[in-house]
């Protein structure tokens, strides 16, 4: 730093040095001003409003006869005693607890599979990634058809594999099967993304480690557990945290396929937030859901970070 500025001071006039510094500050702030303004207006402000409004009975279209009132913790108390909220919370957690490990594990398997030095391997990478670029709404519509209760392809496949012993199932209309059905298509759509992140992680492991492992007589299985897995630690942390946060945001698939049904079996936190805030116009109540959602996401990422002894700076 010192040498840099002294070089520029030698080359330039002494008086110029401080005006150069001023010019740099001015330039920096002019670069920052507009983006910061946008962040304040569209992220910080609504974020603060969410907290403030969650303590009121604010509605989207205010009723002139009933002015918005401060109602302290009543929204939160009502939420805690609302069975719909309990179910949404439970469904979201079940979804995350099953999908996150499953998707992380499959992503690693796929990454190992496409990390082989084989011809056409790029073609396979492309195919495995293609659901990621297929819009979630479209994915949900296709799978809705595949899950068709009577003659749907999934039912036929299960019946074929089990020699007609299993099925047909009423997938999306069955309270026990609707959420698992949504889990399957979510993993199918998203796993390619994490696969690519793992692939980059695998390719970042230096070959010398494996050579050393072979010299020590480690077989492929031992190499995988003793070299690959520990070397992928940071990648795994990133994959788990980002997949968890995505899992908690579950909305699109549910809204397209079941709208939260049957009997709330696929209702999630965000589905409830959407229904309360947008359909019922209860902005205060929905904001309380949003605030709790934020606290959950924050807590989950903090717990995971501490638990996994994370070394990364962000996310």
């Amino acid at each position: 730093m010192i040498s840099e500025s002294s070089i520029s001071n030698i080359k330039l006039h002494k008086k110029n040095g401080s005006s150069l510094r001023k010019r740099e500050t001015f330039a920096a702030w002019s670069f920052c001003a507009l983006p910061l303004f946008f962040l304040f207006l569209f992220l910080v402000t609504p974020f603060i409003i969410a907290f403030v409004v969650s303590f009121t009975d604010q509605r989207l279209i205010p009723n002139p006869n009933l002015p918005t009132q401060f109602i302290a913790l009543r929204n939160f108390l009502r939420l805690f005693s609302n069975p719909n909220f309990h179910q949404a919370l439970l469904n979201t957690f079940i979804f995350a607890v099953i999908v996150v490990p499953l998707q992380t594990f499959l992503a690693l398997l796929l990454a190992v599979l496409v990390n082989q030095k084989l011809r056409f391997i790029n073609l396979f990478r492309t195919i495995y990634f293609s659901p990621v670029v297929t819009t979630m709404v479209v994915v949900s519509i296709i799978w809705y058809f595949l899950y068709n209760p009577g003659e749907g392809l999934i039912n036929q496949m299960i019946s074929f594999i089990s020699f007609g012993k299993l099925g047909p199932y009423n997938w999306l209309n069955d309270t026990a099967l609707a959420l698992p059905a949504i889990m399957i298509l979510s993993v199918w759509q998203g796993v390619g993304f994490q696969m690519v992140i793992y692939l980059a992680g695998l390719q970042g492991i230096p070959d010398e480690l494996y050579e050393a492992g072979r010299v020590d007589g480690a077989n492929a299985w031992q190499q995988f557990w003793q070299i690959t897995i520990p070397q992928l630690r940071n990648t795994t942390i990133f994959v788990i945290i980002s997949t968890t946060i995505l899992a908690f945001k579950l909305f699109t698939q549910v809204w397209v396929m079941t709208k939260g049904g049957p009997q709330g079996a696929t209702k999630t936190i965000i589905v409830l937030l959407y229904e309360e805030g947008f359909k019922m116009l209860r902005v205060g109540y929905a904001s309380a859901i949003g605030v709790l959602f934020f606290l959950i996401v924050l807590a989950v990422s903090l717990i995971q970070r501490v638990y996994l002894k994370e070394e990364r700076a962000v996310i």
């Binding site: 920096a28 920052c32 084989l118 492309t126 479209v138 296709i142 690519v196």
Partner: protein, 295 residues
């Protein structure tokens, strides 16, 4: 290895070659089976979309014929969609909204990241940690208050309501920042000595050197924005400003469901993003990879 190996003087070498071949066959079989798992819903959609006969689609859905284009094939379903819906309008809306969000975002996000990474000024450290802290806020938390805000200023049902709030993105800034910080300092020092102002340094030196990170941010933002559903569902009412994901969801939820038309619509939504992906495939893979590593 030469042709001499065929005479098998060394049985051990033979078994080694044989085992190698066997493991290759196993690898390819596994790769293909997994590929079928990822492809079958997409193939099913395309094949069904060109079957003109609706009863045939329903009849075929329970067997392998769901994947075989046969019978009365054509584009009838596609024409049906165009007849019933202003599809071109939806497509334009999506392209316009995503395009302008991503392009303006590239400029604004990279400019603030440049200032944070390459310029010295008071408050730099604070702004940087502030922006990094903002990454944790999920959009879902702010949509309801944002709805309240845009409703007050009469932005509902418009393009700007789907563009302006999403241009500046904390995660994109962070990706740019990481890349810019890694560029050698001597570059802009040299330019500064030649009398270039910070904007010229940004535009003539940093931007040309940073094509990979621009591609990364553009592709990731494209992926997130193209599939965005919750926000446009809240802020669009009529056809005028509705983007594709909301349009197809609404088309899908109308009863009775005409599956041929739905699959034609779904195919038309999928084809553009699939083509973009296939064209810039290497970049997509690279972008997603670099969203995870480093840091």
């Amino acid at each position: 290895m030469t042709g001499v190996d065929v005479t098998v003087k060394n049985p051990q070498r033979f078994s080694f070659k044989f085992r190698k071949k066997l493991s290759m066959i196993l690898s390819y079989s596994l790769l293909i089976v997994v590929a079928l798992f990822f492809l079958f819903p997409i193939v099913f959609m395309f094949v069904s979309s060109i079957k003109n006969n609706e009863t045939q689609i329903i009849r075929d859905m329970s067997s392998i014929s769901a994947f075989i284009p046969y019978g009365d094939l054509g584009l009838k379903n596609y024409f049906d969609v165009f007849r019933q819906m202003p599809f071109a309008r939806f497509m334009f809306n999506s392209v316009f909204i995503v395009g302008s969000t991503v392009l303006t975002g590239l400029v604004l996000n990279s400019m603030i990241a440049y200032a944070l990474a390459r310029l010295r000024f008071k408050g730099r450290g604070f702004i940087l940690s502030f922006i990094i802290a903002l990454i944790i806020i999920p959009t879902e938390v702010v949509v309801i208050p944002l709805l309240l805000m845009v409703n007050r200023i009469g932005w509902l049902d418009s393009y700007q309501v789907q563009i302006v709030p999403f241009i500046v993105d904390a995660f994109s800034i962070f990706l740019f920042y990481q890349f810019f910080v890694g560029l050698p300092k001597s570059l802009d020092e040299a330019a500064k000595i030649d009398g270039a102002n910070p904007f010229q340094v940004y535009w003539k030196i940093i931007v040309p050197l940073s094509k990979p990170v621009f591609a990364t941010v553009a592709i990731l933002q494209f992926l997130f924005r193209w599939g965005d559903f919750l926000w446009p569902l809240m802020v669009t009412r009529g056809y005028e400003y509705r983007p594709l994901p909301v349009a197809i969801q609404q088309f899908f939820s109308q009863d009775p469901k005409v599956w041929g038309d739905i699959f034609a619509f779904a195919s038309m939504v999928t084809i553009p993003s699939l083509i973009i992906f296939l064209l810039f495939q290497k970049w997509f893979i690279h972008s997603v990879a670099s969203s995870g590593i480093k840091g």
